[in-house]
Symmetry: C5
Subunit: 67 residues, 5 copies
């Protein structure tokens, strides 16, 4: 999952993300099939830097900052 309905559409396009609505959710989200490393490398070229990473349950979450 790389974005929600308020995410920057041009950034989502750059990541090749697809918009979807998970059954039962009342919101849309963007996802990619790429591994996190691929996404983070792309985001780095877009000016984002990883600030922190954490796990919630079995999910990894990255917090990035655009410089």
């Amino acid at each position: 999952m790389v974005g929600d309905e308020h995410s920057d559409p041009s950034l989502m396009r750059y990541l090749g993300a697809t918009k979807r609505n998970m059954l039962g959710n009342h919101f849309w989200e963007y996802y990619v099939d790429d591994a996190p490393r691929i996404v983070l490398d792309k985001l780095e070229r877009y000016g984002y830097r990883v600030v922190s990473m954490t796990g919630v349950g079995q999910t990894l979450v990255w917090c990035l900052h655009k410089e």
Copy 2:
């Protein structure tokens, strides 16, 4: 959740936060409906920088520092 009863009221106003008392809690808290990204972007413009992020249970927590 973005603040407690000792939080800076002007910062809470800036975030558009609402004060509430969750049933059964003996304290007040401030919350916003915005996604974390929106709140963190606002806080950055106020001089706050993310130091660390972590998960407790199913909740994400950010630790920020005002420069």
Copy 3:
């Protein structure tokens, strides 16, 4: 919880911490009633900077460094 029996007494005094022995524990600890934000702000004025924050179970833990 802000300290153990080997913590610097003057730092504990500065934080307004109280020494206590939790029932069943064979050690003493220092605690404060202040919210973490208050304690971290005080520690910053004492030269401490947050390096990392994490959750263990339902508890948040901060790791600070004195510069």
Copy 4:
């Protein structure tokens, strides 16, 4: 686990990683027997720096950045 099928083969070779397919997984992965400290030391010599570390379940995960 140090890599997936899209990982840089020369980096995997440098780490002495072995490619394997865990029973039931439809993907390949690279692993090493070395302790994390050994792998991180090797990666540092290759220009990688640890940005963050977290736990998911009983597993430790490191996030590195190539400078």
Copy 5:
């Protein structure tokens, strides 16, 4: 726990660590009785700096880097 059988013996000696084999484990480890703060302070004097801290289960883990 501060080290494994491949840890630098002089660093382990400096920390006052004891080598032990936990029943059922096929490996040796080094441990100290000191609180983490004491160990981290010693390691800082040896040139190590905390990069990240995380919790796995009920255990806290620190990731340090020698500058």
